[in-house]
């Protein structure tokens, strides 16, 4: 019922329309730009010093799809996810609705899960839609990508999205200023994504490595068997953020009086 309320609110905010649209747009950008880049360069460059190497290998479909994830979703995408979610708990705190809701026999857990489930459904749907659009364009403009690889990669990626959602919810619960929430979440998520690959130990606990697994899945078609542990670890991290959120609200640390 809290989930239902969130969806009605998202519909009234028109969030259910613009979020998928933005991700579809992001999904289309990469294949189209990659496809037309040589042509654009040729036209703009006009042969003055820039030579287009005719032997340059044509980009593979999988590469383009992977770069949709890495250079579109992991950059602009993170910002959009955080911005669309930064107020998730913060507004309820600011206008007293959270305290009000909790005067009713509602558990903190159902409040938080209502927020996370509803936002995750919307974001996962938007990301998947954008990704699938990208996939269609890639298949049309470049070489085909195996369906299985495409789906497994998406699942890895969606796990990373779930972490983004639960992490932003946690930050939104702890901090009161929307700017601080956005800045902190974006900085942390970017940082996590950047340090992927630096150290095996960090990758193991870093949920952003899910994005890298998605990349490998598309490029190579297989991933390291250790991935199971890393996936489990990501779930642990997600659970951890939820526990902190729960603790914070249950112990009434949000009360600012």
């Amino acid at each position: 019922m809290l989930v239902k309320k969130e969806f009605i609110q998202m519909a009234r905010d028109l969030k259910v329309f613009w979020l998928p649209l933005v991700f579809v747009f992001l999904g289309i950008t990469q294949p189209i730009v990659s496809y037309y880049l040589p042509t654009i360069l040729k036209m703009v460059g006009g042969g003055q010093g820039i030579t287009i190497d005719p032997t340059m290998p044509v980009q593979q479909g999988a590469e383009v799809l992977a770069s949709t994830l890495v250079s579109q979703f992991d950059q602009l995408g993170i910002m959009i996810i955080v911005i669309s979610m930064m107020a998730v708990v913060q507004t309820d705190k600011a206008n007293g609705m959270l305290a009000f809701i909790l005067t009713r026999p509602v558990t903190v857990r159902s409040y938080i899960s209502g927020k996370i489930v509803s936002n995750y459904i919307l974001l996962a749907g938007s990301v998947s839609l954008g990704y699938l659009t990208s996939y269609l364009y890639v298949n049309y403009l470049f070489s085909n990508v195996a369906v299985i690889n495409m789906i497994v990669a998406l699942l890895f990626y969606l796990l990373w999205v779930l972490f983004m959602v639960s992490f932003t919810t946690m930050i939104s619960t702890i901090f009161n200023s929307p700017a601080v929430i956005a800045l902190l979440s974006i900085a942390f998520l970017f940082f996590s994504r950047i340090i992927v690959g630096l150290s095996v130990a960090i990758d193991f606990i870093n949920p952003a490595s899910m994005s890298n697994y998605a990349l490998e899945m598309l490029m190579i078609g297989t991933v390291n068997t250790d991935v199971i542990w890393s996936v489990l670890m990501t779930f642990v991290m997600i659970g951890f953020t939820m526990i902190i959120t729960n603790f914070w609200i249950a112990h009434k640390k949000y009360v600012t009086d």
């Binding site: 009605i8 206008n95 026999p105 009360v255």
Partner: protein, 301 residues
């Protein structure tokens, strides 16, 4: 239903908001929590509503922790804030479902409660467009929806204009018959109108807990006020010399005389007025108002 607040203390970063506060309430009572601004009224109500935890002490209903008794409590915050994008009906449905009421039940109960608080016509209007009085009435509807045995109201009328105030006071007077009410206010008149028992709180401490009759008889003011056209120092001096006069206060053209027994002493006093040829305007026996008692309690103690 029995509400017990047991030696509750609340501290905010070293500042004590409520100090060692105890009280008990029985079913059917209506209690006004009165105190100046910043006395700790809201903090106390928030603790009873389980929005904040006391630093020390406990609050129980029928011997059980309030955390498990939320269904029994209806709470109206000082500034009820609902989702602006919801209509009145949606708000009630949402809050009702949070309270665990079934959909069928709500479909029947919501129109009833809306007509009760006089919002039937605005059932489908957005809460964002409501006036203060309407929001307050919606807040009351929300607090009553699940038929709580205890209704907590934090300053239900303080922020309203006279019309809105009247509406809400009438509504509370009406509800009073069905449920137990604890409400806070800094306006004594409101409490006097609705409740028969008061708890006066100051600086987080309880300084008085009594019924209106108790309060009036205990703090019976034994004063005679004499208004004169021009001051007569001789007469005032003479009055001070009476052995039954306890205190004389001169306020402009008014002389307030505190005596031991109004009934026995008034005649003597009047005689002295005539004797000294005082230019008399008014000779009045003062009956204490609640306002005086309140001021006396809050300022003196």
């Amino acid at each position: 239903m029995k509400l017990e607040v047991k030696t509750v203390t609340k501290e905010f970063k070293g500042k004590i908001a409520v100090k060692n506060f105890s009280m008990a309430m029985q079913s059917g009572e209506c209690v006004g929590l009165i105190g100046p601004n910043g006395a700790g009224k809201s903090t106390l109500l928030k603790m009873i509503a389980d929005i904040i935890d006391p630093s020390d002490g406990e609050i129980v209903i029928d011997g059980k922790k309030i955390m498990k008794m939320k269904k029994e409590i209806g709470y109206l915050p000082q500034y009820p804030n609902f989702y602006q994008w919801m209509s009145a009906q949606e708000t009630l449905r949402f809050m009702g479902e949070l309270s665990g009421l079934s959909k069928d039940h709500l479909t029947k109960a919501i129109p009833k409660i809306l007509s009760r608080v006089g919002l039937s016509k605005d059932a489908d209007s957005k809460v964002g467009s409501f006036s203060g009085g309407m929001k307050q009435r919606l807040g009351i509807a929300q607090a009553l929806l699940h038929k709580p045995s205890l209704l907590l109201m934090d300053e239900p009328v303080s922020a309203l204009d006279p019309i809105g105030r009247r509406e809400v006071l009438n509504l509370i007077n009406d509800i009073k018959k069905e449920t137990t009410i604890l409400f806070s206010t800094h306006l004594l008149g409101d409490a006097e109108e609705i409740c028969d028992r008061f708890i006066i709180i100051k600086n987080g401490e309880k300084i008085e807990d009594a019924t209106i009759m108790d309060l009036l008889s205990r703090n019976d003011v034994k004063k005679i006020s004499v208004e004169v056209a021009s001051k007569n120092e001789q007469w005032i001096k003479a009055v001070k010399e009476f052995n039954f006069v306890k205190n004389v206060e001169v306020l402009g053209n008014k002389v307030e005389i505190e005596v031991e027994n109004v009934q026995l002493n008034k005649k003597k006093l009047l005689e002295s007025v005539l004797e000294h040829h005082v230019d008399l305007v008014k000779f009045e026996i003062k009956s204490g108002s609640l306002e005086d008692i309140f001021l006396k309690l809050v300022v003196e103690k």
